[in-house]
Subunit: 121 residues, 2 copies
DNA sequence: CTAAAGCCTCACGTTGACGTGAGGGTCAAG
DNA sequence: CTTGACCCTCACGTCAACGTGAGGCTTTAG
């Protein structure tokens, strides 16, 4: 599929998709015309990219992670302990951010007057 | 207290503290010398600012919230429904981000090989 | 009295993830 | 065969939350 369709199917802007390629997160084929040609897996890949980006990982960190993900977020390849440690650091950062968000939400809740529900979200 | 001490006690850089003031998040008095003079409450205020910032709120959003927080994150003043709605929107955004982070962490966990623990964090 | 901290106000630099044209090919439809 | 609709590659612009001097007061320690 061409870039416009992928954009519509993922919600990512065309510029963003080209940017992801520039960062090595996506490597579409090229049609004789020079147009980018994405396969179906790209849809899932873009989804993962967006999740990780919104989680605060930068593109270089994602570039390290992506090649290790196959199918649907499966454990894979790379018994490289160096990468493992890097990921553990990222994981810790994410956990910190979750805690910050929960704290922030509590502040908002008290302002809104919402009862301090034990929200499963 | 002067800016250096507040910086040490909050972990925020001096530049950051001045920036918060520039954004209307902090309004220290001034000594005859022109030096900023912060009171004790500023310590807690800065802590709240940092929590909200790390939660992804921008300074203008925080500027709306802060005047409504007194003592320790207490429900207060402003029965203004317009603000309430704005806060509800922010809350929704935060919840979305928490979900994104949890999803991202799950991806990392599968890569690390960590068992998919029901982590209370 | 004299350094050495510490503080002040500009004001430009930085980083990441894109936005936004400029200028120009490609391709199905009428 | 000419519109549009899409696509391409530069390449500069943006926005937030600060970082980083430059140049110059003030206050504290000895």
């Amino acid at each position: 599929m061409k870039i416009g369709e992928l954009s519509r199917r993922t919600g990512a802007s065309i510029r963003a998709l080209r940017y992801y390629e520039e960062q090595g997160l996506l490597s579409p084929e090229r049609l004789p015309s020079g147009y980018r040609d994405y396969d179906e897996r790209s849809v899932a890949t873009v989804a993962r990219i967006r999740v990780l980006l919104s989680a605060g990982l930068n593109s270089t960190a994602i570039a390290e992670i992506l090649p290790n993900v196959v199918d649907d977020s499966v454990v894979l390849t790379g018994r490289c302990p160096e990468l493992r440690d890097g990921l553990a650091v990222e994981r810790a950062r994410i956990t910190e951010r979750i805690e910050a968000l929960v704290a922030a939400r509590a502040i908002l809740d008290s302002l809104i007057g919402r009862p301090l529900v034990i929200d499963p979200a």
